[in-house]
Amino acid sequence: MNQKGYLLKRILQMIFSYLIILTLLFFLFRIALPDPTAALVVEGLSEEERQLVQARFGLDQPLWRQYITYLVNFFQGELGISFHYRGPVFPILVDRLYNTLALMIPAIIVSYVIGPLLGVLLSWKRGSSTEFTGIVSGLIMRSAPLFWTGMIFVMIFGIWLGIFPTSGMRTMPYEAAHFFDKIFTLDFLWHLILPMLTVAIYYLGLPMLIMRNTMLEVMGEDFIELCRAKGLSERKIMYHHVARNALLPVVTQAAVTVGLAVGGQVVVEVVFSWPGLGREIVQAIQTSDFPLAQGAFMMMSGVVLVMNFAADMIYSYLDPRVGQGGGK
């Protein structure tokens, strides 16, 4: 199979997966809220008015029609009206997604620049106490729960030392015409440092350990032997030949991590009151805002799927063996 065919196939697979997730979500929320007008009855709605409301929102239609409407609305970007904000869900979520990315992307960049460099160091110092310390601290960094490190950071740097703000993206009140106006300021940077470090430290261990492992594997390959035979310096072999080849899984992992970070790191946003997608979904649960929770989940799983796809594509681009014959 050629590259193009592989690409097309993966795109189709992705869309299919997404459809299944949307379907799952539809039925999950139907279990949760079989009749959304039930809440309105409590507010004093008569039976007739209630049927009117049901007709207006298409709730009197058979389930499959509702499902079709749900999908059609979704592809038109209509994710419903938030109970809490009393406005369309989609623009709210897009805004939150930007906020989340503004936190996660710098954090991932930091961890995926420093991590692999440390990984090279570890593989270089194989068998030494440096390596031992590195591995153990890498494991500890991955084991300490994110929200806990976040709390400790807030306690030390925010409260005791008082050098960093402990919540939000900007000092309130502030005015920003648009998103970039909001984030290209020193104030934002100031707010970014603590949550970013929390996430970066958590993610640091993985690229470090992957880099070390693949470095060790690549070092055992024949072509490195050949390089040595050619008389290349150890430094040149390390950086030009070994590290370059070992970077492959790290880059792929970076893409997967972006997806996971957008969808998975709810807690950091909660601890630092960062107005992102994760905090929004937690608040949606607390206020029983079903459309918002549903929309946030759709958006998160969409990002995760796209980033997983991107990871596959990067991998198949960097390692052409994958596209052909591989990924069935």
Partner: protein
């Protein structure tokens, strides 16, 4: 018959034989873990956590739900310039009354203890019968203490003597006249007793209310106050009702203390911040800026008085009005006493020992409700391990089966199962769990289910790739040629070879599940009233006290990290065996769970 049994026996034995490779492949990792120093460290930590979880009821020093109270007798001393000293604990039981003169300061506690100050040290003296002492006064060289059921203890020349008043009513207060000629004792149901010349005499009063306090003026007359606004004046064995400027709601409230140490001027305090003043002729009501109960009042000098009461309230009178002073503690004071240059606020009511830093009583301190954090953490280990083990088994059960079937059959089956895995990868765990909780309500099972239903994806991929390579091995082909069924090949020939890898995945899944449980509980998705490390941190965050109460935040996090690290260390040493590439080197490499995702499926 015999023959058949033999046959059965034989088949049973041969079945047992199938288990041998399974057992062997489970024992082998254990050996390897123990040989690796890091693996050994990991398993020791893990065993310790298991031990804590198993013996939680014995290791927990308190009931984790109990709001721990502290009971102590304490004083805060002050001088006439109202310079307050530190809160000082002087006994094990709350102090009910204090009295002082030039030489002696004496306090009595709820239990039968008298505490006497000597050379700046507090000496506890236990009196023999168990009297709940309510009042004390210094009368010449004697110390007179009285309490429940009319019991009286008199200390004369270092020895105690006991008497009981015939009517056996509780005696609530004692006061001795300033010229040391007489002592008044007042008690429940309006009883008033006079002590002079070593003899007790009951005085007639028309009151039925419980009387709470009595105080002499320099002139030798006294004021007695009690419940429902009772005020009586005493002079030369005669009890009379006083004059009032006006009657209002305030004049009928319970009064708890009175001070009459300046002639022609007195203050009485009582419930709901009531303050009554005596101008020398009539009583008038006034009030400070608190509505809390005031239990004691003392006059320091002309136009300088203090009142103390519930929840750490201290009111000051500057000659014109009463107002609150800054709180030193928020504990319930039982009274205030002043003599010449030194005074004491004393008490205190049993209080909730909230946000106490670590001590020998509470290893990890207490939280905002006075609950013992060590006990909560100990019980939390049960939740962590329960969720960890159940979720890991579920993850491994699904992942192993899917991986085995997918890798062995290949083709369409493989394709279908791997598409499902792809879909699973599209759903982030925490939001998925959040949605499940929104729908089904918070419970431990929802958390286990969320982890179990979603995270088998990694296991399935890892197992599948291993099975894929095994299925092509000659011994599998040989089995097939010999006529073994697919099920038999999968269970008997392939599974034992994948088991070490599955074991590794089990450990990784467990670490992941424990973190996930903590995370979800931290978000408040855990069931209420079940302690887990995540819920402890959730409560800490919710209370807002976590910003200062480090002892509340650090221990649960350390326990989570330690447990997860231990599992990672164990899995790391198993990996030495399962990853042949890494085995070749002089050192092994750890691979946390996601590292297996690095390669897209099919690799």
């Amino acid at each position: 018959m015999e023959n058949q049994r033999e046959k059965e026996n034989g088949s049973f034995k041969s079945r047992i034989a199938y288990l041998k490779p399974y057992i062997a492949s489970l024992l082998e990792p254990a050996k390897i873990i123990w040989q690796d120093p890091l693996g050994r460290a990991g398993s020791i930590i893990f065993l310790v956590i298991c031990f804590i979880a198993l013996f939680a009821p014995w290791l927990a020093t308190h009931n984790p739900n109990e709001m721990n109270q502290r009971i102590e007798g304490s004083v805060i001393s002050f001088n006439e310039d109202k310079e307050w000293k530190d809160y000082e604990i002087i006994g094990d039981d709350p102090i009910n009354d204090m009295s002082s003169d030039e030489n002696t300061v004496v306090a009595v506690t709820e239990e039968n203890q008298v505490i006497i100050a000597q050379d700046d040290r507090w000496e506890e003296e236990e009196i023999d019968p168990e009297i709940e002492l309510l009042a004390v006064t210094i009368f010449d060289d004697q110390i007179i203490a009285a309490g429940r059921s009319g019991q009286i203890a008199i200390r004369d020349n270092d020895s105690w003597e006991y008497e009981t008043i015939p009517t056996e009513v509780d005696i609530n207060a004692l006061a001795s006249s300033q010229d040391n000629s007489e002592v008044l004792a007042v008690g429940d149901e309006g009883s008033v007793f006079l002590y002079s010349d070593a003899d007790w005499e009951e005085l007639e009063s028309e009151e039925n209310q419980d009387l709470n306090a009595v105080d002499f003026s320099p002139a030798g007359d006294a004021i007695i106050v009690g419940n429902q606004g009772t005020i009586m004046h005493y002079e030369a064995k005669e009890i009379t009702d006083p004059e009032y400027e006006a009657f209002g709601e305030e004049t009928f409230r319970d009064l708890y203390d009175v001070d009459y140490s300046l002639a022609e001027k007195a203050f009485a305090v009582g419930e709901r911040g009531t303050i009554m003043g005596f101008s020398g002729e009539a009583w008038y009501s006034t009030s400070g800026d608190t509505s809390r109960e005031l239990r004691g009042v003392t006059v320091l000098a002309e136009n300088n008085a203090l009142a103390a009461g519930y929840h750490g309230v201290i009111q000051h009178f500057d000659g014109e009005e009463w107002y609150s002073l800054d709180r030193i503690t928020t504990r319930g004071y039982r009274g205030i006493d002043f003599f010449e240059n030194q005074g004491f606020v004393y008490g205190v009511d049993p209080y909730i020992n909230e946000l106490a830093p670590p001590s020998t009583e509470h290893f990890f301190g207490t939280n905002h409700l006075g609950r013992d954090i060590w006990s909560q953490v100990v019980y939390g280990s049960r939740t962590a391990l329960l969720v960890g083990i159940l979720a890991a088994l579920m993850v491994n059960g699904i992942g192993f089966t899917v991986g085995l079937v997918s890798g062995y059959y290949g083709g369409k089956v493989d394709n279908l199962l791997m598409r499902i895995v792809d879909i699973m990868y599209g759903m982030p765990l925490e939001p998925f769990a959040i949605v499940l909780v929104l729908i089904f309500g918070p419970s431990l099972w929802i958390i286990i289910l969320a982890i179990g239903l979603l995270t088998w994806r990694t296991n399935a991929r890892v197992i599948r790739s291993q099975v894929l390579s095994l299925a092509k091995r000659p011994f599998v082909k040989a089995a097939r040629v010999a006529g073994a069924s697919n099920l038999r090949i999968m269970l008997v020939h392939i599974s034992p070879n994948v088991l070490p890898l599955a074991f590794l995945q089990l450990a990784v899944a467990m670490g992941y599940a424990i973190t996930a449980e903590a995370t979800l509980s931290f978000l408040g998705l855990g069931p209420p009233r079940v302690y887990s490390w995540g819920t402890i941190l959730h409560a800490a965050r919710l209370s807002g006290a976590w910003r200062v109460a480090w002892w509340w935040v650090i221990p649960p996090g350390i326990f989570i990290s330690a447990t997860v690290v231990s599992v990672f260390l164990i899995s790391r040493s198993v990996e030495v065996m399962t990853n042949p590439r890494l085995r070749g080197g002089n050192d092994s490499a750890p691979e946390p769970e996601e590292s297996e995702d690095v390669l897209p499926h099919g690799q």
